[in-house]
């Protein structure tokens, strides 16, 4: 048996903390161990890292804490955001800040423990609400997704199981996971830098989810144009 993943819950509503703790307890493999609960982030500051993963409610005492994620990530925590906010802009901000995954409160029961395990292993985990935010992303610096990646994200967002998505796309379920993970890895390669994003990307390359050459962040397109031998002026 692999070593248990340790987790802290940062959540200002005790009833939610209790619910999350019960999901963790009811995991058949007992793969996750809850080591700390807190109502705010003060307990995590200035001390040695107490857990592998932090389940972070994005709104603590009425305030969004997305800006605190980089600090947690820098301290070595993997962050799984768990929030009632499903606004795609907040989801993207959360991922850009270095959180591993985003789980909406409606998705918690089915996805939270799996997202924690994926985060501890630096592997991508994409919930439907996260897929929704990626599909809705219109920021200029968004990564370029392939047609299959987009289609897999769309079908997953629509509510199909990954097996059904595979049947729909005439590929294996594993390939569907690969498409979705690759899309997520591309996001890790854009925007702000964070150790958690680098780790996710390195693991994705190691796992063969994405090849180094496939990491085409937005900026490199301009670079490719500038470096291209036959293309003189940019924009041609």
């Amino acid at each position: 048996m692999e070593q248990q993943v340790t987790v802290a819950i940062i959540e200002d509503h005790p009833v939610v903390t209790e619910g999350v703790a019960s999901w963790i307890r009811s995991d058949p493999g007992q793969r996750v161990r809850l080591v700390q609960t807190a109502r705010d982030l003060t307990g995590l500051r200035g001390t040695a890292r107490l857990s592998d993963v932090v389940i972070l409610d994005l709104e603590l005492s009425g305030e969004l804490v997305t800006a605190q994620i980089p600090e947690l990530v820098a301290a070595g925590y993997r962050v799984v955001a768990f929030s009632g906010h499903s606004d795609p802009a907040i989801v993207m901000e959360t991922l850009d800040s270095g959180a591993h995954a985003y789980v909406s409160k409606e998705e918690g029961r089915d996805h939270l423990v799996e997202a924690v395990l994926a985060a501890a292993a630096d592997r991508p985990y994409v919930t439907r609400s996260q897929a929704r935010a990626m599909l809705a992303d219109q920021r200029p610096a968004r990564p370029t997704l392939s047609e299959q990646e987009r289609q897999a994200l769309l079908l997953w967002f629509q509510g199909m199981s990954k097996a059904s998505v595979g049947r729909r796309m005439s590929v294996s379920e594993n390939t569907v996971r690969q498409y979705i993970s690759r899309a997520r890895a591309k996001y890790a390669a854009t925007g702000r830098t964070a150790p958690s994003k680098d780790a996710l990307l390195a693991r994705a390359i190691e796992d063969g989810v994405i090849k180094p050459g496939e990491i085409v962040p937005y900026q490199s397109f301009a670079r490719a144009v500038a470096e291209g031998p036959s293309l003189g002026a940019p924009g041609q």
Binding site: P88, E106, R132, A133, L135, A136, Q138, L154, L155, F157, Q158, G159, M160, S161, A163, S164, R167, R168
Partner: protein
């Protein structure tokens, strides 16, 4: 859910009828309008007095003055002071500098006119005392009452001083007191009257204002209460009995049936809360309506959107909602509807536990429909392309 819609409708009808008049704020204007009317009345009174009363006296006694030209000049100075004062008071509240400048000019002109009158006959031929007093009333009307009292006293004192200079006789003093009583009394009475009317107008405006505010409060309260009532009704018929049963222990959370009911009510509450904070297009609205119907049958329905959705024309919308109704009717316990912006259009998808294949309407109006059955789960997508 359907009960919420009348609430917004109600809002549209109740609001303009009862609340909008306050936007004009008639009460704020009301007291101002009355006060202006009183000011205009005083302007006419003062100007009328100076023209007819003082002017008439001046012309009538023109032969008695040592210099009619000087008296005429003083009359003109007084007329100019009254003109300036009128303009100033009609423009708005006067500062003490301007008010007293006009008052002092009037006082000086009247004293000069009195001093230039023949001794012994001064009171009989004096046109200026009244005019100066009225000018004081005009410019000091809306200032502290003591200022007007000071001015009128100074004016009377100036006239008395001239009489003393001329050599005061007993009969002169009686005349002085008579004129003082009549003229100053009238001036004080007018000033006090206007002040009383101002107060009355203010009170009337305040009463109207509070009445208006009360009416507005009542209208707002009504709108809120109607919306709250609609929401309450919607929950009353569904969520509340369930919570009551759970609390009483008659509904067992371990029972699959109870869990289904909880899931449906949770979905309903989520949609109730979500519907308020976004402005969905007609398609989303129509899908919400279809979801309401399914919910009454005990099907938990989620609706989610992704991206900026394009406007879908009516006929295409009908094809999509027809498909939605068929799928939701066939759904056994849960359904998820998503609307996603895709290149050149919109993808509306349905995932539901229909158990069997649903016969969907033919594609048309630019909408292509595809479906796939995996075990008991149906996936269907209606894709509208604007090209």
């Amino acid at each position: 859910m359907t009960a919420v819609q009348p609430a917004t409708g109600q809002q549209a009808t109740v609001h303009p009828a009862t609340v909008q008049p306050t936007a004009v704020q008639p009460t704020a204007l009301m007291s101002g309008r009355y006060q202006r009317a009183f000011t205009i009345a005083v302007v006419f009174l003062v100007a009328g007095w100076h023209l007819a009363g003082a002017g008439g006296q001046l012309l009538h006694n023109r032969l008695a003055y040592a210099s009619f030209a000087f008296q005429g000049a003083m009359w003109l100075v007084m007329a100019l002071a009254i003109g300036a004062g009128s303009v100033l008071v009609l423009r708005g509240a006067l500062g003490w500098r301007r008010a007293w400048a006009v008052a002092v000019i009037a006082l000086a002109a009247s004293t000069a006119a009195a001093a230039a009158s023949p001794a012994g006959q001064m009171l009989a031929v004096n046109w200026a005392w009244g005019s100066a007093g009225w000018t004081g009333v005009l410019v000091l009307l809306r200032r502290r009452f003591s200022e007007l009292a000071c001015f009128l006293a100074a004016e009377a004192l100036a006239v008395l001083s001239v009489q003393l200079w001329d050599g005061l006789h007993r009969t002169d003093l009686a005349g002085f007191l008579a004129v003082f009583a009549w003229s100053t009394g009238a001036q004080v009475a007018v000033a006090a009257g206007v002040r009383a009317l101002d107060v009355a107008a203010d009170q009337a405006a305040a009463a109207a204002r509070s009445e208006e505010a009360a009416r507005e409060r009542a209208a707002t309260a009504e709108i809120i209460s109607v919306a709250r009532h609609a929401r309450w009704l919607a929950l009353q018929e569904s969520a509340v009995p369930l919570v009551a049963e759970l609390a009483a222990g008659t509904a067992d959370p371990g029972d699959a049936q109870v869990r289904v009911r909880c899931a449906v009510q949770a979905a309903r509450l989520r949609r109730l809360l979500a519907e308020g904070d976004e402005v969905p297009g007609p398609l989303v609205h129509e899908l919400h309506a279809s979801a309401d119907v399914a919910e009454r049958r005990g099907v938990a329905v989620e609706i989610e959107t992704a991206g900026q959705l394009p406007q879908v024309p009516g006929p295409a919308r009908r094809v999509i909602t027809d498909a939605a109704i068929l799928i939701l009717t066939a759904a056994r316990s849960k359904a998820r509807i998503t609307l996603a912006a895709v290149a050149a259009g919109i993808a509306v998808s349905f995932v539901a536990d229909t158990g069997a294949v649903v016969r969907l309407p033919p594609a048309g109006e630019g909408v292509a429909i595809e479906q796939q059955q995996d075990g008991g789960m149906l996936w269907a997508e209606a894709r509208w392309n604007n090209r």
